[in-house]
Symmetry: C2
């Protein structure tokens, strides 16, 4: 099932000197347009219990009782944990179309915050089990822990360039299903969010992205708009197999 309408196949000018996209204003406007085709949702739950969060707001806290399931209509959620010394760790993200719960035995394991303005559909476990059309959500929930674990394991063993390349690649796949060379996507995360996920500093993330640009692998327009210019090179850069799990 393809939930997300993505802006693809455009042509845009490229300045080889800096590797920045210099597309028209209208193209950018299109890329910022709402990402969800609401007609794509198949069930009577459609339009029920949509919750909105402003950027930075908290959905639930680490340790809170609860095991509800959320599906993202638009925006990006981050899963956060804070160390004793105050360092912030991000365990993962969820983007449009994806579902999450990150709960175990009736408690949420991480704090969920809106990394950008968000719309969510909330379901109880009971509702989810009763709705036979939502098997794909059940699937995703069953593997969410292993998916997050597998990503963490990779990041722990990659250097900064590999981590950043891997991250861009994975987010492109998730934000633009059917992603191909030239696909444009908007990543609504701050450099700090990316850094706290990859276990790096914002400065290192910036430099890594710049290196991807100067290598001709990535195009950027502003901090949040990306286009992959050389997919094969990006995969090599990331030192990656095709996505697992």
């Amino acid at each position: 099932m393809r939930l997300i309408e993505q802006v693809t196949g455009e042509t845009f000018r490229f300045d080889p000197g800096v590797g920045r996209i210099t597309g028209s204003a209208s193209a950018e406007a299109a890329a910022r347009a709402p990402a969800i085709r609401s007609s794509g949702f198949p069930t009577p739950l459609h339009r029920r219990r949509i919750e909105s969060l402003k950027m930075g707001q908290t959905l639930f806290l680490d340790g809170d009782p609860g095991d509800d399931v959320f599906q993202i209509v638009s925006g990006t959620i981050r899963f956060v944990s804070v160390q004793l010394d105050g360092r912030r760790m991000i365990a993962g993200f969820a983007v449009g179309g994806e579902a999450f719960s990150i709960s175990h035995r009736g408690h949420y394991l991480y704090t969920a915050e809106a990394a950008s303005d968000c719309q969510l559909r909330r379901m109880t476990r009971r509702e989810l089990a009763a709705d036979g059309t939502r098997g794909f959500i059940v699937d995703r929930l069953e593997r969410e822990a292993w998916a997050l674990q597998g990503e963490m394991l990779l990041l722990l063993h990659k250097d900064s360039d590999e981590s950043i390349g891997h991250f861009i690649l994975r987010m492109a796949e998730r934000l633009a299903p059917g992603m191909a060379e030239g696909t444009r996507f908007r990543l609504d995360l701050s450099r700090a969010d990316i850094a706290d996920y990859l276990g790096l500093t914002v400065e290192t993330v910036c430099r890594g992205i710049r290196r991807l640009r100067t290598q001709g692998i990535l195009l950027t327009e502003g901090p949040h708009l990306f286009a992959i210019r050389n997919l094969a090179a990006l995969r090599r850069w990331a030192g990656d197999a095709e996505s697992g799990i």
Copy 2:
């Protein structure tokens, strides 16, 4: 339930110059003794289907079909994955008394190898579900993915000293339940195994352990015998909260 008999409460001489244990040969022999009180197992499955693995042997391979559950009688199992470029990543370990399956949707997610000579009890999911006395195993399996994920997240955000301290602390807790200051334990892992788990090199692991010794936090006798000399300092060193999950 306490499955493991542990050698505790001994006194041994300590050479402050190097921080090495200089205990008697008999004490060491006791620490090497079999760790399992077989009378501790409560069910008729006792003594059934015990499998033995020599150090280095493989229990199952990453991607193999299967979802059997294993409980470790003695020894240590490591969960391994290999990168495209050949780097070895270790996702976790299981030690005496613990249970694991690391399977999802009928396939094992990592290769399981004996990090030391091992004895295992194998159960099918069906047997496990039918045996009401084994609820503690079901509990553990449900959280195994989250447990591994949580550890990976911590390690990703810790520097080498913190990672090594954290690792020693966690393994002490697991190998010596009720671990207290002075508890002695045997860690049957090579420095390479530790390094591939923490995302470090063997040299860095060696230096980290030495630093724990020279700080008066840890005692060592040979590469595999440890005793915690200052628990509070170790916790501070590791930058850790009490163990979660």
